[in-house]
Structures are given as C-alpha cells and as structure tokens.
Symmetry: C2
Subunit: 170 residues, 2 copies
DNA sequence: GTATGTGCAAAATCTTTGCAACTGT
DNA sequence: ACAGTTGCAAAGATTTTGCACATAC
C-alpha cells in the first residue's frame, strides 16, 4: 500500500502542473516547493508560518512569493483558505485542499484549537440551498465556536474566569 | 401590531442596559447611539460604514469608539461579527444579532452580494457535533460561496470571463 | 530573447493603543 | 471625585505593490 501522504502530494503536483499549463503560468521551483511544504503539514497555518517553514527547510522565498503562491494554490483548489474569526481577525489560515471533502471546523474560543469534522447533512443543505435560492454553490465554510473539552484548556479557562470575576467585583 | 424594527431596537436597548450593568460598564450615549444605528440597518456593514453613518447621522464618534462599541455589542450578542473570505480579507462585516437565529450566508464570489438563509438541519449538525466531539458549541458561521443568479452580475461576469480568456490566449 | 515571477522594501488597509480630556456613577 | 470612555493620531499587523533582477518558456 502506498503512503497516503506521498500519493496526495503526487496528485497535488500533477494538478498544479495541469493548472499552470492551462493558465499559461510558469512552473517555477518556488511554486512546487511551497506546494510540497503545504502537503507535508497537517495543521492550519498562516502565511507567516509557511514563510518561516520555507526558510527552515532552506528553501528561502520572500513573503510576496508566499502570498502569491498561496493565491495560485487556492485558485486551483489545492489549498483552502480559512478566516476563523476567533483569535486574530486579520490573518487567514490555510490547509491542504485535497483529501478533505466537505469538512468543517470547531474552534475553541479559549485555546483556539482547531478540530475538524465531517457531516453528510452539510452536503444536503448545500444542495437544497443552491436549488432554492438559485445559487451555484462552489464551496463552503462551516465553523462552530465553543469550548473544547481538553483538560488543560478547561483548567486554564476556569482559572481565568475566576480571576476576571474577582476583577469585576473590585 | 407593533413595528417590528422598533420593538427589536427596544429589546436590544434593554439587553444592552442589563449587560452594561451586569459588567459594571458605563451606559454612554455613544454606545446607545451606535446600537440604534446598527438596528436601523438591514445589511452587512463594516466598521468604516458604521463610522461614516454615525457622522451623517450627526452623531460623530471616533473610529476607536466604533471598534470598542462593536466589541461590546458582539460580546453581549446584540451584534454578529462575520469574516467573509470573499472580497477583502482583512475586514469584518457586522449585522444585527437579534431576530435572526441560526441563519447562514451565501456570498457571490463575483458581485460579493450577501444572501441570507435558514436551514433547520444546521441545528441538527450542531447538536450531533457537540455531542460526538465533546464540544460545547456556542455559535456558528456557515457560508456558501458561489455564483448568484442576478442578471446584472451574470452578465458582468460573463463579459469579464470572456476578456480574461482572450487575455490568456494572447 | 521576452514576458512572467521573484525579492525587497515601501505602501496600503484594517484594527488597536497611548495619552489627554471628558463623563457616567 | 474617580474610574471608565472617548478622541486623536500614531503604532501594529497582515497583505499588496512597484521596480530591478532572475528565470522559465
């Protein structure tokens, strides 16, 4: 059996190549190197994370290239761009686009952890809404905000809440 | 029958008052004036829109106050803060928080129009996920991205696509 | 060889913050 | 009176852009 991460990257590389050719864009080393970095990760990273990772990987690219390439990868569906409204308003968080259909996110409002889940009913809603509203749905973003059950997070939050309430009493 | 917009504002004002008292915050004129402006609108506005509207309404407040007050209103559930990842990454768009339970948004990737809809299955997903993942869900954000059926938008997009494809052929 | 892409730093945009003046309690 | 709020402008943070150099085609 083939390593699934590797085969995913292979598929992604092929897709990127096709996309670039179709659009008449150049197959620069940077674009493939960034794609490789993206597909080596399993988290939700921001542009700066990727920039730093590329430098540690000793394939130094500029921030401009990171942003440019992420745009290209989002455009061809190889990367998903998320705007979780939890911690930092202004920055986007990215993730692999392949191999994770109709998934959604849970965000802990306390520790900002990102948890993924799938629910087939999401697909049903998408279909219904597209039909009812005459809207050609291309993609979606479903995020639930709340409190996770992680022990450490719960303990830290409890402590913070306690001190906050004693503040407001002062 | 009572005007529903007015009664919504009345309810909102009461809720804000209760919240401010509970938190020991001041009931400043600015906060209530901004709440009134928010509840007089039915769109998805950004902080700058609100700032401009307050000035035209001849109740000039600073941007800092707009941001501060929006935070307060979001915190007490009277305003919803959205981060639609369509046009502008960096800015949030706000809307009334009262009188629109479990609603979601459709965003046209071409004209950036915002359409609202409701689907009871969203609530079902929320419950299931909360139980399955041991996650205390507090709020959600569901956005579908796609192409709307508005004539003008379709025509404009068709024209833009045609010129873009002729570009790539050049 | 030429048009595209990259790198750097400066610009642009949204949002937050420091400090003085003001105001609700 | 006093602590919380406001206003202003300056700082912060992320993302975009202009121009010179490099490179894929």
């Amino acid at each position: 059996m083939v390593n699934s991460t590797t085969s995913l990257l292979t598929t992604a590389r092929t897709k990127l190549e096709e996309y670039l050719l179709k659009k008449g864009l150049r197959r620069s080393l940077e674009r493939f190197a960034i794609l490789e970095e993206v597909y080596s990760r399993d988290d939700h990273f921001d542009a700066e994370d990727l920039y730093q990772a590329m430098h540690q990987r000793s394939f130094a690219v500029s921030r401009a290239t990171v942003y440019n390439t992420l745009d290209v990868l989002v455009d061809c569906g190889l990367v998903r761009k998320n705007q979780f409204g939890d911690e930092d308003n202004t920055k986007s968080r990215f993730e692999k686009g392949l191999g994770r259909q109709q998934h959604a996110h849970l965000i802990c409002v306390n520790c900002h952890r990102v948890i993924e889940f799938c629910d087939p009913r999401l697909q049903l809603i998408k279909t219904t809404v597209g039909d009812t509203m005459q809207f050609q749905v291309e993609s979606h973003s479903l995020v639930f905000y709340g409190e996770c059950a992680d022990e450490e997070c719960v303990a830290r939050t409890k402590a913070a809440t306690a001190s906050a309430s004693s503040n407001s009493m002062a």
